[in-house]
């Protein structure tokens, strides 16, 4: 049995999205900027994708800007706003558990002379509004927080924070990294006080190399890529029409029968958590209720290094991630796991299971039975 439980790293591209892409790669392959009919057809595909996406968020299609993926969306949001608003102030706020595609742009801002405040999290990975209230200042220009943490699945109180910001600091731009959240929770930027929202296509059964940034109308932001002025100059470069259209299809699909899908995921997750916790030396990180995502389970195993468990599971065709290894294969200590206060001996003993709508109970049973055999065996041989 093959058991792909690494859906927070990437997902399988949906059949409908793939078909759409093949059509646009081989038949309707025009450049949206071309003045002839083929160009218009391509342009319409981009518009249609923006409309599909906008309707999932209840925003306007013109507020959707396509990018090469989550990393670019986050870079554009953070660097673009910081640059556009620097005359108002140079203080920015983020959290200690952000993905590198957020954390590293903030490090760049530090080098450029901005002051960055990093919000802590509690043991379950949750940021609190009061922590933000304590550090926000008159010269704060940007708050950037993730909606769902990619390592342990904590859902952050985005609506609460967004609405408070709108009521008290309407000038502060609120950016939300929703790369793990889009398709897993209903997001309503206008109601939640969200000004910018980053999304990646390949996490929602769309193609790699696709993504978008929602930019609320009237938000001031400077581009970070310059060229032919496509997408109102916000993101130059010929639109990746096949990927954009594929993303549009995937976005529409992921929000169909949404409640049932989420209920299914939570059912799987709750089952997995209860079964995996029975294994000796295993603990699940993060909250087990609905303040945690339906698709991510972070598991620490005493005495078994993550890399070893990962490869042992791989041998059984079960695919998971070690720690946060979503983007790189460098074994670095996870900032998130440290921030939630995980004991040192578990920092490199943590693997992430992440599900998709295609995950079945049979797959989980198979994975659990393999873990029941492997973990006691691996625990016998440890480093001294």
């Amino acid at each position: 049995m093959e058991c792909y439980l690494d859906n927070s790293a990437t997902t399988k591209c949906s059949q409908a999205a793939t078909e759409k892409m093949v059509e646009l790669l081989t038949k309707e392959f025009g450049n949206p900027s071309s003045m002839h009919e083929m160009g218009m057809i391509a342009e319409n595909e981009v518009k249609a994708a923006a409309e599909k996406i906008a309707s999932t968020l209840k925003v306007q299609p013109k507020e959707i800007y396509f990018t090469s993926g989550g990393t670019e969306s986050n870079n554009l949001a953070i660097l673009g706003v910081a640059d556009a608003a620097k005359r108002r102030g140079m203080h920015v706020i983020t959290s200690m558990i952000e993905h590198p595609s957020v954390a590293n742009p903030f490090h760049v801002l530090e080098e450029r002379g901005y002051e960055v405040t990093y919000l802590p999290v509690d043991e379950q990975g949750h940021i609190t509004l009061s922590d933000l209230q304590n550090v926000i200042r008159d010269d704060t220009i940007l708050v950037s927080l993730m909606y769902i943490n990619n390592e342990i699945g904590a859902i952050e109180p985005i609506s609460e924070i967004g609405n408070w910001l709108k009521a008290n600091y309407p000038e502060v731009v609120f950016h939300v990294d929703a790369i793990q959240a889009y398709g897993k929770i209903l997001i309503r930027p206008k109601k939640e006080g969200i000004d910018l929202l980053s999304v990646s296509g390949h996490k929602i059964h769309g193609p790699k190399g696709s993504g978008f940034l929602y930019i609320r109308d009237k938000i001031k932001i400077h581009p970070i890529i310059f060229g032919g002025g496509q997408q109102k100059g916000m993101r130059s470069g010929t639109e990746n029409v096949p990927a954009i259209a594929g993303l549009g299809v995937a976005a529409q699909e992921i929000y169909e029968q949404f409640d049932e899908k989420i209920a299914h995921l939570y059912e799987l997750r709750d089952y997995f958590i209860s079964e995996v916790s029975k294994i000796d030396g295993v603990r699940v990180n993060g909250a087990a209720d609905h303040s945690n995502a339906p698709h991510i389970v972070s598991v620490s195993t005493k005495g078994v290094r993550a890399e070893v468990l990962l490869h042992a599971l791989e041998d059984k065709h079960i695919y998971v991630s070690a720690g946060s290894a979503c983007s790189s294969n460098k074994p670095a200590v996870s900032a998130t796991l440290k921030a939630i206060g995980l004991p040192n001996d578990l920092l490199d003993a943590t693997v992430r299971f992440s599900f998709s709508v295609h995950t079945t109970k049979e797959e989980l049973d198979y994975a659990l039975s393999q873990m029941n055999q492997l973990i006691p065996m691996l625990q016998k041989y440890t480093r001294h």
Partner: protein, 394 residues
């Protein structure tokens, strides 16, 4: 454009009656490396010289790069070759060459003419003087310095006239395939590829053995070693890589022996397995990247303990190298970037916090008695399940 490259080699010239064997190997290896370069090349021997002649277009840098990976070559001299149509034409060719090759003419030079063809109407001394004069006339900024010239202009009167003024250093050593075969213990680290390179440089063909320990080491770690072998093969020729699954032996040692002796005992079994393949394939020695005192398993006491299991000689070309020096070579041969990829290798997975640094051979042997029950069977299993990959330089 240069029409040929004069290949200089040093040690081969003193090999007496075997000399042709070395020269033929050199010619063969040059041909193999030039196959990767676009263009037509003719490699030939002439009176104790090897020439690479070019025909039509070629990329100069690519040719030099390919040649600089052929062991045995000491120097690569790009040569202009002209028919002998009189002194004036020869002088013009020299002037043209200088004009093209040295944009800044503020340099000192010396002309060094030789006549292989003794019936040429001028003597070497006369050629030196006359060409020197023409150069000074054409480029008044230049100066003659016969003791320490910045540019040495060689003119050789052979059937064709050869003109050259630069010598690009080659890797040195002896042509690959002229010294027998060695078995390299290849890990994913920095040292062992360098050790393989250095021994190969003396003309030795390489075979390699790598130990992996799934699930403790990953597929990527294995791929990394294959990539390293391919990099070394760019110099040393194709390498047969034996990939041994070492997990069961390692776990068995872990279970039965004191943990602080684990690394030493493990390394003894690695040597035994590598030697098994070495003997099977006619290798004349083992090659390791060990360097005295670098880690606990490379103290002199530890080396004594690991060496003891082998009948074949163990070549350790890095034995007195500092890490910096090893890194410098690995950067030169382009293995460094691959070596530092952070995948765990099987030597480190169970390493004890305080491994013995001065193992006592008798005590180690006594500890190994605990393995008697199953070790032979595990050894046979490891041999039988070994995977072979032929790694060719790309």
């Amino acid at each position: 454009m240069y029409q040929a490259f004069l290949i200089k080699y040093a040690e081969i010239a003193i090999k007496g009656k075997n000399r042709y064997l070395f020269e033929d190997a050199l010619v063969k290896n040059i041909n193999i490396n030039l196959k990767q370069v676009d263009g037509n090349f003719n490699v030939r021997k002439e009176n104790g010289r090897v020439y690479v002649e070019t025909e039509g277009d070629y990329d100069f840098d690519e040719v030099v790069e390919a040649l600089s990976r052929v062991f045995g070559i000491v120097g690569i001299c790009p040569v202009i070759m002209i028919e002998d149509t009189g002194f004036d034409d020869m002088a013009k060719a020299v002037i043209d060459h200088i004009n093209e090759a040295y944009p800044d003419k503020h340099f000192t030079f010396k002309v060094d003419a030789r006549r292989a063809r003794k019936n040429y109407p001028m003597t070497s001394m006369e050629i030196n003087a006359a060409i020197g004069e023409r150069i000074l006339e054409a480029f008044p900024e230049t100066k003659v310095d016969v003791h320490h010239p910045q540019v040495m202009i060689h003119i050789e009167v052979r059937p064709l006239i050869n003109i050259y003024s630069t010598e690009i250093p080659g890797p040195g050593g002896m042509p690959t395939g002229t010294a027998g075969k060695g078995m390299l213990l290849l890990s994913g680290g920095i040292d062992s590829p360098v050790a393989g390179y250095m021994v190969a440089k003396r003309g030795v063909s390489l075979e390699a053995t790598y130990f992996h320990a799934p699930p403790y080491t990953s597929e990527r770690a294995k791929q990394k070693v294959v990539d390293l072998a391919k990099k070394v093969a760019r110099y040393a020729g194709p390498i047969k890589l034996n990939i041994v699954n070492f997990t069961d032996i390692q776990l068995y040692i872990y279970e039965k022996c004191p943990h602080e002796e684990l690394t030493i005992i493990m390394r003894r079994y690695m040597m035994k397995i590598a030697e098994h393949f070495a003997k099977e394939d006619g290798c004349l020695g083992l090659i390791t990247g060990e360097s005295i005192g670098q880690v606990a398993s490379q103290t002199m006491q530890s080396l004594l303990a690991t060496n003891e299991v082998c009948e074949l000689p163990v070549y350790r070309p890095l034995i007195a190298f500092d890490k910096n020096d090893i890194v410098a070579v690995s950067e030169k041969i382009d293995t460094y970037e691959t070596s530092i990829l952070p995948y765990e290798d099987c030597c480190t997975i169970f390493v004890a916090k305080h491994p013995v640094t001065k193992p006592n051979l008798e005590r180690i042997k006594k500890s190994e008695l605990a393995l008697n029950e199953k070790i032979d069977a595990l050894f046979e299993e490891a041999i039988a399940s070994t995977e072979v990959v032929i790694c060719k330089g790309e």
